[in-house]
């Protein structure tokens, strides 16, 4: 438990030490939302229908950029050996990094959501339900994204490979359920009405965390 905390604090410190990095992520979210706004300004559309896809696609792409340096950083700065030699199990490294990714992505998502409500005038839905959906969706996103980031950090052209590997698995498990639930919330449903989706997202959260716990040894081992 202590090891997880140490890794978590170390990661958070790195993320926030360099203010420019966080600023860039925030800027990117603004740019993505703005580009959706521009794209939809010239055609007719029903805001209610496109709101939830826009939100989740924005979350996905802005969050992905914060995932990509998680393991790459260690390789580039040569701290990887030190980390692996330290008396910490690989799964603690995984969970520590997962927690810090989760926190950073969640912050980015809340910021994106704010920008979304500024750019798109839409009636505010049940916010508690929306936040719960975002939190459980982000757990799965960070859990899987962390493993894929570890895989792609060992590949050439890792920045391209991260989305290539992440999209087919993540979009069709967590994101599709989250989009379905979120659009119901925007149409006025409450959390109890989307329990089915919530249950599936939670199931994938557990599955991804279990996969990370079981397989991280094989990724970091070589």
């Amino acid at each position: 438990m202590n090891a997880i905390k140490t890794i978590f604090l170390k990661e958070i410190k790195i993320e926030f030490r360099n203010k420019q990095m966080i600023n860039n992520y925030l800027l990117l979210s603004v740019m993505i939302i703005a580009s959706f706004r521009f794209a939809f300004s010239i055609i007719d559309f029903s805001l209610l229908l496109i709101a939830s896809p826009i939100i989740w696609i924005t979350f996905f792409f802005s969050g992905m950029f914060s995932l990509s340096p998680t393991y790459k950083r260690e390789l580039e700065e040569g701290t990887c050996e030190g980390l692996l030699l330290a008396p910490i199990s690989n799964s603690s490294i995984y969970f520590g990094k997962f927690l810090s990714n989760f926190l950073v992505i969640l912050l980015l998502e809340l910021f994106s959501l704010l920008i979304f409500f500024v750019f798109f005038s839409i009636a505010t839905p049940d916010l508690v339900a929306l936040f719960i959906l975002i939190i459980i969706g982000t757990i799965g996103f960070a859990a899987l994204g962390n493993i894929i980031s570890a895989i792609s950090s060992n590949l050439s052209q890792s920045e391209v490979m991260l989305p290539v590997l992440l999209v087919p698995i993540l979009l069709f498990t967590i994101v599709i359920s989250a989009i379905s639930a979120t659009s119901k919330i925007f149409e006025g449903a409450h959390l109890f009405d989307v329990m089915q989706e919530v249950r599936f997202i939670l199931m994938f959260d557990v599955v991804f965390l279990a996969i990370g716990y079981l397989l991280i040894d094989y990724i970091l081992g070589d």
Partner: protein
């Protein structure tokens, strides 16, 4: 070695004979489908290709686990060969499916149909698997990382299928009608074509693994000769 080649040729022969039988069954033996007409005859090889791709990806998944447990490159070779064959037959399944769909539904693709959707996802996942292998930096990391990715990808597909099926309102009607009103002769024709394709798969897998092994040996010799 000689014995092995004979087995491989034998399997190829069996596959060819079974394929010829199943073509006969599909076109002449089975009756024309009452509602869909002759175009329903796509069914036999479409389903066989889809089955083959699931089998091949399943083999990649299982051999991935074996590789991680034993670190024996033999398993990695089989996993890779199987993934490639799976991609080939998955491509065949998702190109013949729309042709059938166009004739029966009047549309090439139905995005709300779960079976089509999930098969496409599986195809994307294993395309990504091949991309991962192409971008790996060393033999060991290629084998490790691709095994992990293959396992993750394959686990998620049935889960996602089960999860989405419950709230999905559109059931693939074509599957329901073709299997619901499946006559026994049609069932037999389908069974034979599935078995034929399974033999074809075994033959292709052995060939592919042999080729990859040979390529590796040649590379090794080249290095020795060059140095």
């Amino acid at each position: 070695m000689r014995f092995k080649i004979n087995i491989k040729d034998l399997i190829f022969g069996v596959a060819i004979i079974l394929i010829l039988i199943s073509i006969y069954l599909a076109f002449i033996y089975t009756p024309t489908h009452t509602t869909m007409g002759d175009v329903q005859r796509i069914f036999y090889f479409h389903v066989a290709s889809a089955w083959l791709s699931y089998l091949a990806f399943g083999v990649t998944f299982v051999t991935g686990i074996f590789y991680l447990k034993s670190k024996d490159f033999k398993w990695d070779k089989i996993a890779f060969a199987s993934a490639e064959i799976g991609i080939v037959f998955c491509t065949l399944a998702i190109t013949t499916g729309p042709l059938w769909g166009k004739a029966v539904w009047g549309a090439f693709w139905r995005w709300e149909d779960l079976k089509l959707f999930i098969t496409l996802v599986l195809w994307l996942i294993f395309i990504a698997y091949l991309a991962l292998r192409a971008n790996a930096k060393s033999k060991v990391s290629k084998a490790n990382l691709s095994a992990v990715f293959g396992i993750i990808g394959f686990i998620c597909v049935p889960l996602s299928f089960a999860a989405n099926r419950i709230w999905q309102q559109y059931h693939p009607t074509v599957i329901a009608t073709s299997e619901g009103s499946l006559q026994s002769s049609m069932g037999m024709a389908l069974g034979i074509s599935v078995i034929a394709f399974t033999f074809l798969y075994i033959y292709l897998l052995i060939s592919k693994v042999e080729i990859d092994t040979m390529r590796e040996i040649i590379e090794e010799i080249k290095q020795k000769v060059g140095g």
